[in-house]
């Protein structure tokens, strides 16, 4: 891998050159203070001072709702209008890992063209970050990345170290090579080492994820699931914000006047009530506790058993989002035997009032 140096004031000129013909998506700050990935028209709107966006970048590859087919009586026409060439800037390491997990999933046995086409058409420009109290990526080992991006920008005060991760990333650099410095001085390297050490020290929570698969198995019938189920509002927010949640539903939307229909694919969540219901009304997971258990089986057991790592990238979105504090941190703590009843009992009483 090649690394080059970019003085900070040259970032904007660089972004302008590479996005002359390609749309740029980057984080912007909303009025309420939260950040979202958005298509950028005005470069001054880009705000890199954020910990996490509300939704992970999965929304760019598979939008919350999009058309798969326009269908007539005899013919289905594929619709790839959600796919277009894009440069996605400001992606944090956890979200790059989220995409790597999605890559594996959507190419497993059958290739999902709606995802892979969008992925092939998008260049990923990663950006370093600083953890807040909800970041867990050091525990999931997703605080560093060495694949899954085209360029990665490590922010070191007045310059960036730019890691070139792909041939296409290299082409971007070559569009205007004189913006970059090839020589990285010893002082710069020292700077980087110090930044990394301080960053790693800044994490406030650690979870031993390697133990979770066994704990999930041992605590399959534990009362903690009933308590979680009691508190859960089955709103599906944890799935919407999770970078590795991939469930979707397909709806057939017929046109009223003619023999045609749009086959629409939209996000779904295994925590929603009718997720496992089959025609005729049989629901294999009527209980909220059973559906939550499936969610956590996916994150903390299934993926660990298959690939040796959790399907959690430590982004902290479920922690920031769940209205009743059911998240990867509290559930892991509960599995680890820490008393969590106090919170859920309290919540239960508050609701009763």
């Amino acid at each position: 891998m090649r690394v080059v140096k970019l003085p900070k004031k040259k970032l904007s000129p660089f972004l302008e050159i590479i996005t002359e013909k390609t749309a740029l998506w980057a984080p912007i700050r909303k009025d309420n203070g939260s950040h979202v990935f958005k298509e950028i028209e005005d470069f001054s709107k880009i705000d890199l001072d954020f910990t996490r966006t509300i939704l992970p970048p999965k929304k760019i590859f598979l939008p919350p709702s999009f058309t798969m087919f326009k269908a007539g009586k005899k013919k289905y026409k594929e619709d790839f209008s959600h796919v277009s060439p894009r440069i996605l800037f400001g992606v944090h390491p956890c979200d790059i890992h989220g995409l790597l997990i999605m890559d594996r999933f959507y190419s497993h046995i059958f290739d999902d063209p709606y995802y892979t086409k969008a992925r092939e058409n998008t260049l990923i420009l990663g950006h370093s970050c600083w953890p807040d109290e909800n970041c867990l990526c050091i525990s999931t080992n997703t605080h560093i990345v060495d694949e899954g991006y085209d360029l990665f920008f490590t922010d070191l005060e007045d310059f960036y170290l730019v890691w070139i991760g792909s041939s296409r990333g290299d082409d971007l650099i070559r569009a205007k090579p004189d913006l970059f410095e090839e020589n990285i001085a010893d002082k710069d390297i020292q700077n980087f080492i110090q930044w990394r050490e301080e960053r790693d020290m800044a994490f406030q929570t650690e979870i031993n994820f390697s133990a979770m698969a066994d704990l999930m198995e041992l605590k399959y019938s534990d009362i903690l699931w009933e308590k979680l189920g009691d508190a859960c509002m089955a709103c599906g927010s944890c799935s919407n914000v999770c970078p590795t949640c991939n469930c979707y539903n397909v709806l057939d939307k017929p046109a009223l006047s003619e023999d045609s229909s749009e086959i629409v694919r939209c996000w779904d969540a295994c925590t929603l009530e009718n997720y496992s219901e089959v025609a005729g009304g049989e629901n294999f997971r009527e209980k909220r506790s059973d559906r939550l258990k499936l969610w956590y089986t996916h994150k903390l057991q299934a993926y660990i058993s298959k690939y040796g790592r959790p399907a959690c990238v430590g982004c902290g979105r479920c922690i920031a989002t769940c209205p009743v504090d059911i998240n990867i941190k509290t559930v892991s703590h509960a599995l680890d035997g820490e008393p969590v009843d106090s919170f859920w009992n309290r919540f239960h009483q508050e609701v009763k009032k």
Partner: protein
């Protein structure tokens, strides 16, 4: 935008060749993929399923009831229970539907060859198991004993009643049929739940028997007990299970059980899988 060569979600137009009622709410559909070459090259295994779609109504998974030993036509028996099946029931012969597949693991037919086959079906469980039954009968010399136990609520609700009654004539098949109640007064076979048929089968060689089971959830508990009593090993008891297979290709997540997808790793599971994975039945 360049169009993909292979889109696993793209249905193939197929024509309804024949359709007729099997019971009051179950219809039999015989279907042929419109493009002749594709119709003949559609290869599947007994126990696999296909996604069937009706424009404007949606798509749903159905077990294939025909046998791969008779290529060209695909058969389904479909109960009217939801939006897609209601739309299917309104169609007529020669109408077009969408079809994609086959999906799922199907029965491990190569493993079962040379063994005794004990098929136990209840109600609509006949839909997937008819495929393997006909396959065994079409390749009769490849299997030892073939035994069929089929139970229904009453004669008018017995799927493939006439077909199975006719099979009683065959000397190379032990065919036992039963109904919970006789609403016709003309039923000459056994009356009682399907487990009462176990009395009729003698001299089971458990180590060399594969049992294939499908029926409503309540049936499994009792049938499994009988099979275990016969000492059939748990990994030779195979069942095919229903889940909400929405995409068929392991992407949409709806058929997840524990950490497997029914559409990829199922719908055929062993009794050991059921004990091991807990959520199965």
């Amino acid at each position: 935008m360049e169009i993909s060569q292979i889109n696993p979600f793209l249905p193939e137009p197929a024509r309804i060749v024949r359709m007729y009622p099997l019971t009051q709410d179950v219809k039999f559909f015989q279907v042929r993929i419109a493009e002749m070459e594709k119709a003949l090259s559609f290869k599947y295994r007994a126990g696999q399923f296909a996604m069937v779609s009706v424009l404007g109504a949606g798509e749903a998974p159905f077990s294939i009831s025909s046998t791969p030993s008779r290529p060209g036509l695909l058969e389904f028996c479909i109960r009217k229970v939801g939006v897609v099946t209601e739309a299917l029931f309104k169609l007529r012969e020669n109408d077009l539907i969408g079809l994609r597949g086959p999906y799922g693991n199907g029965f491990p037919v190569a493993k079962i060859q040379g063994k005794d086959v004990l098929i136990v079906m209840g109600g609509l469980g006949a839909a997937p198991l008819r495929s393997v039954l006909l396959y065994c009968l079409d390749n009769r010399d490849r299997f030892r004993r073939v035994i069929l136990l089929h139970g229904a609520k009453n004669p008018s609700e017995m799927i493939f009643r006439e077909e199975f009654l006719a099979l009683k004539e065959r000397e190379d098949l032990e065919c036992h049929l039963s109904v919970d109640r006789d609403d016709t007064g003309k039923w000459t076979e056994n009356i009682g739940v399907v487990t009462t048929l176990f009395e009729k089968i003698k001299d089971i060689d458990p180590e060399n028997t594969f049992s294939l089971v499908c029926g409503p959830p309540v049936m499994y508990k009792f049938v499994l007990k009988e099979l275990v009593k016969l000492n059939i090993p748990k990994d030779q008891i195979l069942m095919t299970l229903e889940r909400r297979m929405k995409c068929g290709v392991g992407k949409c997540g709806h058929c997840a059980i524990d950490y497997i997808y029914t559409c990829l790793d199922g719908p055929v599971f062993t009794y050991w899988d059921v004990i091991h994975m807990r959520e199965l039945i």
